[in-house]
């Protein structure tokens, strides 16, 4: 299915039906978003990106990035941040709109000690004694002999139901099924320099053959610098900032915006000093779209075996015994859904649920609490500052069909599948050509860039600001798409007294913050040494 921007805009304008249009308000990410997954950081998905590859020469390819292990401080030695070999990490694709996965890419990890599992040992006055560290010398792409901790993984594609479908191993160009994962960036002394680490990590980008796909893909799993940008501490301290653009233009610093409003600054991004672990996959779209209309929905999940027996005398390879069927403990499609939409009593259930069962959470979307909380926090200040008498900052169009459409369906003509099943996932139209990094708008579709969020999600899309605005009623006001004013007719300006306010957390992000080639997310911050 081929689209031009003009056709897309026309389609969007023409299809102003409930559940038929909209902008996805994925507000960001999901770091430690639910009580149970906060206990299991190695399985905690933090962000999920799905976009048409914009690396030059990769037209027709789709990139999928699933980030895990939140808020990694780069200096977190000596064990750093290995993925969990007891876990099953998955990326799911629905390509026909029934909210059920048609394709699942599974990843399972294996962490071993060097020296055939015995670990590197030193002769200490006679006895050979195992060292306590994961590396005892420099590590390069060509020499990992000083690396005491070796990480690898295998990958499968499952067609059909993720548990009952047909699974086949993904192979490398040499036919192998085991892929290496780079050691975390412990510092520049270990790896020589940032550039040397980049070269080292890039040596773990593999060309792979996925059974059933005509073109080879690429895969990489390893540590990356956190790409998400958010004023995290202040947001969760009862929004301890004035979350409105404070300048006449973002970053202008002239105080010409909302009185007391925040100024855009990278210093406001409180996760700018953290790393994550990325599972990155790039496949040709023909491998993903199936028989649908070219729009695919994606999400990631992590699971553990249901039974676990802690070993009272643990060894390196057996701290526990796991058994039984897989139980999902983490899920992420549209980020921040579980963080700020789902009620606390149901967060763990959401983590364990699948899109096909999302009807049980509908009330959290139709009658959201976040706008009401923001009203409580800011109504008085807003009225005092502006001399207004706004009775309630929160939109009053209930049920919030604007959010239902945003969270659970897609934007007709842009990222809506041929069959519409209300469910939470990131939807991407693979037929919309990617926008080059230099030309991307970090406001995605709302910024006139149809290749961006909510048509999928790219690393440079500022989903926090978009989401803040959408939840407060931005979609009740016309959007400018392709130079045209588009009224989605999901609600009216009268429903959202502050829906046209430029809400922001003041933590900017754009495509310029990332690489322009796979896996796009930049090299991780070092545990020591400069970046």
């Amino acid at each position: 299915m081929s689209f031009t921007k003009q056709r897309l805009v026309a389609a969007a304008v023409a299809s102003l039906l409930p559940f038929a249009t909209l902008i996805h308000p994925a507000w960001g990410s999901s770091h430690r978003e639910a009580p149970n997954i906060a206990r299991m950081p190695t399985l905690d998905s933090t962000d999920f990106y799905l976009f048409n590859s914009y690396e030059p020469g990769r037209d027709g390819y789709v990139t999928l990035l699933a980030n895990y292990i939140p808020l990694q401080q780069p200096y977190g030695g000596p064990n750093y941040f290995a993925l969990d070999e007891a876990g099953l990490y998955e990326i799911h694709i629905d390509n026909d709109g029934d909210a059920r996965e048609n394709l699942t890419f599974q990843f399972r990890f294996d962490n071993r000690l060097a020296n055939d599992g015995r670990g590197i040992k030193l002769n200490i006055n006679g006895p050979q004694v195992a060292v306590p560290l994961k590396n005892v010398g420099g590590v390069t792409a060509g020499d990992n002999s000083a690396l005491n901790f070796r990480e690898s993984y295998q990958m499968w594609v499952v067609r059909g139901d993720r548990r009952r479908g047909n699974a086949a191993a993904v192979t490398g160009t040499n036919g192998g099924t085991v892929f290496g994962k780079p050691y975390d960036f412990v510092g520049t002394k270990t790896f020589g320099s940032v550039d040397a680490y980049k070269a080292y990590a890039n040596s773990f980008i593999y060309s792979v053959n996925v059974p059933g796909c005509n073109a080879p893909g690429r895969v990489f799993v390893g540590q990356r610098k956190e790409g998400f940008a958010v004023n995290l501490g202040k947001v969760f301290d009862l929004v301890n900032l004035v979350p409105v653009e404070g300048d006449s233009a973002p970053g202008a610093g002239d105080g010409g915006g909302f009185p007391g409003g925040i100024t855009q600054s990278r210093a406001n991004n409180q996760v700018d000093d953290a790393n994550v672990t990325t599972i990155a996959l790039e496949l040709h779209k023909s491998c993903l779209t199936g028989s649908g209309n070219g729009v695919i929905g994606g999400w990631t999940s992590a699971s553990l075996r249901q039974a676990r027996l802690l070993n009272p005398l643990p060894t390196f390879s057996r701290p526990e015994v796991d058994g039984g069927p897989w139980v999902q403990v983490s899920r992420l499609g549209m980020p921040l859904v579980n963080e700020l939409v789902i009620g606390l009593p149901d967060k763990d259930r959401f983590s364990a649920s699948e899109p096909k069962f999302d009807g049980q959470f509908a009330t959290y979307v139709t009658n959201p609490t976040l706008p009401a909380l923001l009203d409580v926090l800011f109504r008085g200040a807003v009225n005092q500052t502006l001399g207004t008498n706004i009775a309630n900052l929160a939109p009053n169009n209930f049920p919030r069909n604007d959010l239902v459409t945003a969270f659970l369906t897609g934007f007709a003509g842009v990222n809506q599948m041929s069959t519409v099943t209300a469910s939470e996932m990131t939807r991407l139209n693979t037929g919309i050509a990617a926008t080059a990094a230099a030309d991307q708008s970090n406001f995605g579709v709302a910024g006139g860039d149809l290749a961006g969020f909510p048509n999928g999600r790219r690393p440079g899309d500022d989903t926090v600001d978009i989401a803040l605005r959408v939840v407060m009623g931005r979609l009740c006001y016309p959007l400018t798409l392709g130079g045209n004013s588009v009224d989605l007719k999901l609600c009216a300006p009268a429903n959202a007294p502050v829906g046209n306010v430029p809400f922001t957390d003041g933590a900017p992000v754009s495509a310029a913050d990332f690489d322009t080639k796979f896996p796009y997310l930049t090299a991780p911050l070092p545990g020591s040494g400069g970046y």
Binding site: R163, R164, Q306, L313, V321, P325
Partner: protein, 187 residues
Amino acid sequence: MNQHKVVRLLPLAVTALVVAACGGGGGGGDMGPPPPAANTAPTISAIAGKVSDQDMVIGPIDFSIGDNESDAASLTVSATADSTSLIPADAITVAGSGAARTITLTPLEAMTGTVNVSIAVADPQGATTTRTFGVTVNARPASILEWSLTTFAKAENDEVTVMNGYTFEQDADDPAIFEPLIGMGEE
């Protein structure tokens, strides 16, 4: 509680008024205009007691309401439980319309016991009728040992072992039970 007093007292007051207007007491004279019809309390159908296992949603339970003087749609229905430690107010959902209504109860997780649930229906004149039925929520015991071994025996892609709705009995205190699974004892 005031509403309950109204239910009891109103018929008496109306009766007295009718008697007086009709010249009760044997005096003759003009009958005058007919007195206003007495308002009768609305009705609720009977609801049998319910018995459920723990952690189960009870209902929706159908019941019907009616009133001689008012349309069923104008009647107000509310419900309470006499033990909020088992069924708090926000765990009771009354739905339906007209004469056909439903009540759904969601007992608190892992809680058991017996409560009385009262449904009150009020007409626009303020007359109220209350119907009460008992709800018993029983524990469903489960053996940790049995559950664990059953679950360990399953394959990766088997159906998960459902855990909600059970009270687990700690019958596996002896770690030695699981030693064969771990396969390593301290020497």
